[in-house]
């Protein structure tokens, strides 16, 4: 007799989603989280009265969350408050232009007429093609199991209208946006989102080329910080008896004859279950928790063939003054070519890019309660990768230098006297990130994502190599991101309910 029906390792969004749905279906479910808070990359921690988001700073494409809470018998607003953020971004371009992109499509058309009249027709085509694609693919592709060719074929047969969009997956991000825009500023405004999926515009899948459009369907910030999302999912699950334990690091999977039957914790204790779900990086799951000796040779070769997603340092700043910004997110952009250049000539070469700041998030604009009265928060990151192992150096040594570079950029773009107004500042390097969440090499989206590592080429939600092992989160399905990892959690739960429900 097992202690639990389901054990979920890791309380990230994927893990919590699967756990809550398993609990809803009547399975006795336990989540084990190694850190002292839930949410993983989508979480919030408090220092000196400031509440900083660990990683994710916004949620766009909220349909998977809506669907999840429906499946849990409620609606989003029963569990968390999502504050709409408009404008979507404020831009500072490489040629010094400053403008904001509003959510409203007609208002955006007016903006395009002003900044890039030659691309108005392209913008209309982008909207026409992109909006119908987003609408038709949302439920069908995001929330459907897609581990095998036959599942993909069934999906296509049930939803023939989506087949016309299949070539988009095989195109590149820059190929897609270049088919609509010529103006360098318009290209910049739709190119940097490829790094939201962890790849440069020349390598990322074309389907992510439409992120810039999906943002017009609304972007949201949860009241109380990004942890509001995992807290909401956890609360809904706990209504059905879900148990969550923090400060519980799982060391190994208990295995017999190629079948998982529980976990062994760092403190030596063992807990058994009918099935185990891992929300960890899939390489960690297979090569550390399961161990190569428990895997067939092909499985070791397969899992070792992936690379980790990019790391990205983050800087958390507490200010005693309101910053001079216009939107929740300010983007300091550069040309599309230089976005590829950062990948090829810096990241891949082990060189830290010259800029420390390109995406500035101002969460206290949406929710002033995140900071003490009259104070503000800025979380910012270089929206491009920085190497995990800088050539000839290491991040612990470089931290002070990086902080200084970040403050200088803050002074250039946001607050000329920033130094006098910083009450708190912390740099989270790739090494810190690895230590906090145990993400190998500080990778922020699990495994690298391109057309050769997505959907049926990403590790399966229902393991074929280990019986009764399921995977969820950014290493599976459609990769990293709040909506995609929630979707992965739903997909994994669908497999579990099919097998055990």
């Amino acid at each position: 007799m097992s202690d639990y029906d389901v054990i979920v390792v890791g309380a990230g969004l994927g893990g919590l989603t699967t756990a809550a749905l398993a609990a809803k279906s009547g399975m006795k479910t336990l989540v084990l989280e190694q850190s002292d808070i839930i949410g993983g990359c989508c979480s919030t921690f408090e220092v000196d009265g400031y509440k900083f988001d660990v990683g994710a700073s916004i949620v766009e494409v909220i349909q998977p969350l809506e669907r999840l809470f429906e499946m849990l018998g409620g609606k989003i607003s029963d569990y968390l408050e999502l504050i709409p953020c408009d404008p979507i971004y404020s831009f500072i371009t490489d040629d010094g232009q400053r403008f904001s992109i509003p959510t409203d499509i007609d208002e955006t058309t007016e903006l395009v007429k002003r900044i890039a009249p030659e691309d108005v027709e392209g913008w209309h085509r982008f909207c026409d093609k992109g909006l119908s694609m987003i609408e038709e693919m949302m439920d069908a592709v995001m929330l459907s199991p897609m581990n095998t060719f036959s599942e993909a074929m069934q999906l296509g047969m049930k939803n023939p209208q989506i087949l016309k969009f299949a070539p988009t997956f095989a195109r590149t991000h820059q190929g897609v946006i270049r088919s609509f825009y010529k103006n360098p500023v318009m290209l910049q405004s739709a190119a940097f989102q490829s790094y939201f999926a962890g790849a440069p515009p020349e390598l990322g899948s074309g389907v992510f080329g439409y992120i810039a459009l999906s943002e017009h369907l609304g972007i949201y910030y949860p009241r109380g910080g990004m942890i509001g999302i995992p807290n909401g999912i956890a609360k809904a699950g706990m209504d059905y008896g879900l148990e969550i334990k923090v400060n519980q690091k799982v060391e190994k999977l208990l295995m017999e004859n190629g079948t998982a039957f529980g976990v062994k914790l760092e403190n030596g204790s063992e807990i058994t279950a009918k099935l185990v779900v891992s929300n960890l990086n899939a390489q960690v799951t297979y090569l550390k928790l399961v161990g190569p000796h428990n895997l067939p040779g092909w499985a070791v070769k397969a899992i070792a063939s992936y690379s980790n997603s990019m790391p990205c340092p983050m800087i958390y700043v507490g200010l005693d003054k309101k910053p001079d910004l216009e939107a929740h997110h300010t983007i300091v952009t550069s040309s599309l070519e230089s976005m590829n250049d950062v990948w090829n000539n810096f990241y891949k070469m082990g060189i830290i890019p010259e800029t420390a700041m390109s995406l500035v998030c101002w969460p206290t604009e949406a929710d002033p309660s995140l900071a003490p009265e009259g104070r503000h928060i800025l979380n910012f990151l270089c929206n491009a990768p920085a190497p995990y192992a800088p050539k000839g150096d290491n991040w612990d040594r470089l931290k002070g230098w990086y902080k200084d570079a970040a403050i200088k950029e803050l002074e250039t773009y946001v607050l000329p006297d920033a130094r006098d107004h910083i009450e708190y500042i912390q740099v989270s390097t790739p090494l810190d990130f690895e230590r906090r969440l145990l993400h190998p090499e500080g990778g922020i989206y699990g495994l690298f994502s391109d057309m050769t590592t997505l959907a049926m080429f990403r590790p399966r939600s229902r393991s074929k190599a280990v019986k009764n092992l399921y995977l969820t989160g950014s290493s599976t399905h459609l990769g990293g991101g709040v909506p995609t990892t929630v979707a992965s959690g739903i997909v994994t739960a669908k497999y579990i309910l099919k097998d055990f429900g």
Partner: protein
């Protein structure tokens, strides 16, 4: 005639690929190289 075509076809495809490679931008070449390196792993990735 068809026999001859069958012989010539692989050569034509190869010539076409070489020509396309030389016409491609640096960025496209990097993309093709990247995908080329991944393709051998796809049969393994499919099953994991």
């Amino acid at each position: 005639m068809i026999k001859n075509l069958k012989k010539v076809l692989p050569v034509l495809v190869l010539v076409g690929m070489v020509a396309a490679w030389f016409q491609a931008s640096e960025s496209t070449r990097r993309y093709l190289k990247h995908i080329g390196k991944q393709v051998p792993y796809l049969p393994y990735r499919y099953f994991i």
